[in-house]
Symmetry: C2
């Protein structure tokens, strides 16, 4: 619940994102998406920064239209920020504390951006809508970071990949949401065979191993890892990849099906 902000940048007019109270959304229900990517032995999260004074970061979120499946809503939110349609997506937790609302965040935002304080009837209505208690459904997404061109929407000052261990302080409970997403990711990583969503189309065994080492934050034995992965029978071996390095060329692999 962040991206569809209350008080839109006045210079930009994107009716779809403004006035959420009039968009026929389900009341007090939001979706927050933790988008994981992987690059250079680091697990990253795609986080937009709000286009207001003060440093407001939060994971992409949004609301659910009356005639929209919650999974579709999550996909829509993901697509607007990543440009990608087919995304691996997993519902992982519902955040539903009674005290969970945007009030603190909104107050600080307005304090630092007093020019937004034109409280006419319309603004007031949106403010009331947004500062209610929200129940948020948490999703995590796994993407090939090379395929994503992060999309800045009107309320974004920036949108960037952050190492999951080096995230800035996020609004509301978004740091907790990322934590829980990471736990859920780890828990189903092996069992569900989802690692390959984070890798490009083709990759070497070393790539896979480094990914696993990153996710579980521990070194793995090279030979045993190769055996374990190949025994899963989900990879097809392609041609060798000539790296130009002074050593044997590794095989490339592709995820089957």
């Amino acid at each position: 619940m962040l991206t569809e902000s209350p008080i839109p940048d006045k210079n930009v007019s994107t009716p779809i994102l403004t006035n959420p109270s009039e968009q026929n959304y389900i009341d007090q229900l939001s979706i927050d998406c933790v988008i994981f990517g992987y690059h250079n032995k680091a697990l990253k999260v795609l986080v937009p920064k709000l286009n207001f004074k003060g440093d407001f970061w939060g994971v992409p979120g949004g609301f659910v239209h009356q005639h929209e499946d919650i999974d579709d809503a999550a996909h829509r939110i993901l697509q607007t920020r990543t440009g990608i349609k087919e995304i691996y997506l997993e519902q992982f937790h519902v955040f539903g504390n009674a005290a969970r609302n945007n009030l603190k965040f909104m107050k600080r935002l307005l304090k630092l951006n007093p020019e937004l304080l034109i409280m006419d009837e319309e603004h007031k209505k949106e403010y009331m809508w947004l500062t209610k208690r929200f129940v948020s459904i948490g999703y995590y997404a796994l993407v090939d970071i090379n395929k994503v061109i992060p999309q800045k929407i009107d309320i974004d000052e920036s949108i960037d990949w952050y190492n999951v261990q080096e995230l800035p302080e996020l609004i509301i409970d978004h740091n907790e949401i990322v934590e829980k997403a990471l736990s859920a990711l780890r828990a189903s990583f092996d069992e569900k065979l989802i690692a390959f969503n984070l890798l490009p189309e083709t990759f070497t065994m070393k790539d896979v191993q480094e990914l696993y080492e990153t996710i579980f934050d521990k070194p793995l034995a090279r030979n045993n890892f190769q055996k374990k992965i190949l025994d899963m029978n989900v990879l097809e071996r392609l041609e060798k990849k000539f790296t130009g390095a002074a050593n044997k060329a590794p095989y490339l692999y592709r995820f089957k099906r």
Copy 2:
């Protein structure tokens, strides 16, 4: 989303359950609880039947008050149906299809109970409130079946334990909800050490084994099972239980902490 029905029994007045539209609930958000119990080598689910003509069964459900954590709401719903305060509870899935609503169920209910069709303003309001699309958070609970005295509330004709394989046809998507709950239960059964929530205070190793065999629907080797469970180091051995049977008396165990 079932127990707090639209059209309350006119002979009974329980203001807390009637007129949900006026209870300051979160709109279009419900909670459904699958309550698992275990008895006689069978996994059972506690299911109330509605006190209306036509056979309407559905798992206990309810709504979330504005100033109530969703976990607290689930506990409240469970307590009203089981009488037990401390219950093992796990959030397992959100059911959020756009087409998910009570319309079909309500229409059939009204067709079979035409006397309820007094559509004055108040009834109409409740009907509108209840037949909206609902997003439902699924919880499953594990209880010691001996401690539960099923509580019939005003809209219940009965409330009984059903074998999970022999459930009647339930309203809306409640059969699917039970299915998903069972999958989630199986998935975290070993890892989370939750089996003992389904057993009484003290039990024999055979009890535990039969429970596992029931949950996973396959026979297990007695000796290896005993070793595995004892190696978890979560049970304390108590005195022997003299059954009067013509064989060695088994030990009783209790779950530590």
